[in-house]
Symmetry: C2
Subunit: 341 residues, 2 copies
């Protein structure tokens, strides 16, 4: 394998748009539609047209995370197609959507200058735990969108922000992994934009449960997943541009914990499943609050990571009206009962 | 509808155990296997045996959350079966697993005496936001188990705990809901055990991102989902027993925010999807830390909520060895680069 890349394109059929997994053996090779390639391969091996379509659809569904749940059957199918690619499966200039639709995700916070700024923003010292454990919070896997889609601007926020992050895609199931084995369970890396509503995030985080409404309305994953085989150990360049102007230029250096350590820690006592996404947390300078800038509705945000492509989205416009809860009195334990309504 | 209940049973087929959705029109009616009932209904309406099986399997898959994603097609199918239940679909004494396998979940913290204790445990005053907004954190929807299953005890923890919570099951998609409309989007309520590893939870929460390794290794949902139609407005009794001894007896009173308010707030700026679970947070006295008790491997935990059944699990035994990250020095921004390994 030579820096295999995974992507998804949008095709239009009689029922409207559908998604197809694409693969290529390296960044210079042509893209192959995995389902088409598997169908042609089955036909060449004697399957009927109808059965070849059904077998290919089962191995290569529209969802990358569901495909990865196929385990070694999926990985073997990819390897077979890369080893003997049928010309008729080649796709030129595909319209790419997000390479991954994760089945679960959690986001770490491993860039030191970013988290140091974050605690300063909250008027707190950097806690000891940041140098003892990679800490994380989970988000909603159903809120993911892809390149080119409009990022919704929730009506409850006046302060939307991007976060330029490295996304780690789990490819093989594992539990209680040690770092030296952890990368075997990683399919590859992708760009991850952990879109944030800073005003509500700041308020809710005073409660100590982490971010929630400040994050769950949208996440964006990038157009490519690139395998780790030929990535430089020393790191990858990371860039953010807003309306074409460079607002951040940094690298994956200053990660307090490595990709292998993040995956190993996430797997302790848990089953890490194929199709799960682990975010690195924002890179240094990779959001607007830490550089004193501000986004407006309609702004175009471009996030780029070396070898992982460009993730470009436009911000939506706040619409509708938010329902806000009515504040409660502190009862000291004798609150009025609230149950159903 | 008269307090419709949903459950899932385990059946054994040629490929091993599989799950089947059960429904009944009230707590005294017999259980019906939804897929069997739909198959028999289709045959009676002229479908071939093969097509009737396929149609029934598409409307009533083994996953409750996937079934709910069927929208009004699913709800109409349930209504049709309840209105004209075929005798051959009746199931007596089914072995029940968890009624819901959520596609996403977040957990709130709305019981005042519980959260007041929690902040005291962390040596903090109760923050203002607890009386301004229902705050929450998200978890991993892939870690759910059901009644009777052994709760894994992660080797990194010496302090496992249960949390007795009310689970709110979303049944119909919605966004930007107001409380007076929110209950229309709730399928019903279930028992939720938000299993917690207190030692690691306490450490990681000093980082301010909320709980993660302290929670993600296991969650348990109850054997029943009960619709809201006939539940008392004044609340439900909640009980926890350990090895048969009562450790908690309380009610859903003292919720600072109601079910309708929780759902409405969760839906602001987001699409709440059918099959999502919202937890109430621990009821007052509904965990061991706040009552000065301690669980041991092998203990039997029984959580009961009026109208929602009993959720019984045994705690496992710590096994294997945890890999712990090596602590880092504070670098002041000049950290050694860590990227891949």
């Amino acid at each position: 394998m030579f820096e295999v890349q995974y992507a998804r394109r949008i095709v239009f059929g009689p029922e409207g748009p559908e998604k197809r997994i694409l693969i290529r053996r390296d960044q210079t090779a042509p893209w192959l539609d995995l389902r088409t390639a598997l169908r042609l391969r089955s036909v060449a091996r004697g399957a009927s047209a109808e059965r070849a379509s059904a077998l290919a659809a089962a191995l290569a569904p529209g969802s990358t995370s569901q495909a990865l749940r196929g385990g070694a059957d999926f990985h073997d199918a990819v390897a077979a197609v890369l080893a003997d690619a049928p010309d008729d499966a080649v796709v030129t200039d595909p319209e790419l959507t997000n390479a991954l639709d994760p089945i679960s995700y959690r986001d770490f916070m491993v860039f030191e200058r970013h988290f140091s700024f974050g605690y300063e923003w909250q008027n707190k010292p950097v806690p000891e735990v940041m140098y003892e454990l990679p800490i994380s919070y989970a988000g909603d896997p159903l809120s993911f969108i892809g390149p080119g889609e409009t990022i919704p601007w929730p009506s409850y926020s006046e302060r939307l922000d991007y976060e330029l992050e490295l996304g780690i895609v789990i490819g093989r199931q594992g539990t209680n992994l040690r770092p030296e084995k952890a990368l075997d369970h990683v399919l590859g890396l992708t760009i991850f934009n952990d879109v944030s509503a800073r005003d509500i995030q700041g308020r809710e985080m005073t409660g100590g449960l982490g971010p929630s409404k400040g994050k769950h309305f949208a996440c964006v994953t990038g157009p490519l997943i690139t395998s780790l085989d030929e990535l430089p150990e020393s790191g990858l360049a990371m860039t953010a541009r807003v309306n074409g102007e460079e607002w951040c230029s940094t690298t994956t250096a200053e990660m307090v914990w490595s990709v292998a350590e993040i995956v190993a820690w996430a797997s302790q006592g848990e089953v890490l499943r194929p199709g799960a996404l682990l975010g690195s947390g924002t890179c240094n300078g990779g959001s607007t609050i830490e550089i004193g800038r501000r986004l407006e509705p309609g702004d175009e945000v471009e996030l780029e990571i070396e070898h992982l492509g460009v993730l470009r989205n436009t911000l939506g416009t706040p619409a509708g009206e938010t329902w806000w809860p009515a504040a409660r009195d502190r009862s000291g334990g004798s609150a009025e009962t609230h149950f159903l309504t």
